[in-house]
Symmetry: C2
Subunit: 189 residues, 2 copies
């Protein structure tokens, strides 16, 4: 009898994953990445980002033949025409996506075959802050709530451990909970 074991788990090639981790352990300079977005105002609350190139593993990545375009907007109550999710909703999506991918990768590494990962995120905001009506409420969400429903071929305890580990490794969870230094420069004609 021959055991044929696929290296693909949860859609992640674990053999390539472990090879990547080994490579980065050996050559930490390959871990320097830079992601980018360019944005252009269209009208009112409507603006559009283009996301394509990034720097990774010692060089400019050229694997994307075209860019992704993302349209932002605001609903009517916030003076827009609903041309896309609003920026705060995009932040919720960024957080959901990062935690989910982290869960999927951690589970793949730990031999947990997932069957479903779903989440609901809520962000509570007192818009007096962002609208400049009152200085007391902060501009952003006061709190974000995330509820995950995770199923797979592992006991509940192990699934909880996977989520816990994913939280401790998620790039966006780190940024949203701890903050990031942001430098803004402005050029005018």
């Amino acid at each position: 009898m021959t055991a044929v074991t696929s290296t693909i788990r949860n859609g992640v090639d674990t053999e390539r994953m472990f090879a990547t981790l080994d490579l980065i352990k050996d050559q930490p300079e390959l871990a320097r990445f830079q992601f980018r977005a360019t944005n252009r105002w269209i009208d009112g609350a409507h603006n559009r980002s283009t996301i394509q190139g990034f720097y990774a593993a010692g060089g400019e990545d050229t694997s994307r033949s075209e860019g992704f375009e993302l349209d932002a907007g605001e609903p009517a109550i916030l003076l827009g025409t609903d041309t896309g999710p609003n920026p705060a909703e995009y932040l919720l999506h960024a957080l959901a996506a990062c935690l989910t991918t982290s869960i999927v990768y951690v589970a793949a590494a730990r031999k947990v075959q997932l069957t479903s990962v779903e989440s609901t995120l809520t962000g509570d905001m007192d818009v007096r802050g962002a609208l400049g009506v009152d200085d007391e409420p902060r501009n952003g969400f006061e709190r974000i709530g995330v509820t995950f429903r995770v199923a797979g071929n592992a006991p509940a305890e192990k699934l909880h451990e996977v989520v816990e580990r994913a939280k401790r490794r998620s790039a966006v969870y780190d940024m949203v909970t701890n903050g990031v230094p942001v430098a803004v420069e402005v050029a005018t004609p």
Copy 2:
């Protein structure tokens, strides 16, 4: 001679804007908003958020007849199949979009007619953190750089003031620079 002054500036209805601000000043309870996203894992690094309903101004908003769908992914070098921007890139877009809309709204309120607002954002990351190879680098961006190019019918000094005020009122800029408490709950079958 009759002066006909449009209340629309930069695509923003300033009359409605000031009416909204007055209303919220009078009834601060109307300023309670809740935004939401639901996310579902598809395969590997591919997951999708749906964004539709939100709570605003004392009730559930029903103005969106259908939801927005956002696909996230990772490029090949991060073990995905490039099914969408990655979560960290979505965060850059959220920040770009929020600062841009804030600039446009602040300019509208201050009678500055903008002709263009463009930005480039970069986020530098040592992926050893998120990949769990080394505990020293943080998981998220070490820093984010934003460069705005803003043009309109005002002197450079006033355009700089508009951007400065927009930074001080942007919801996502607040969240990304200062962080937000995030509570994660997990349900398993």
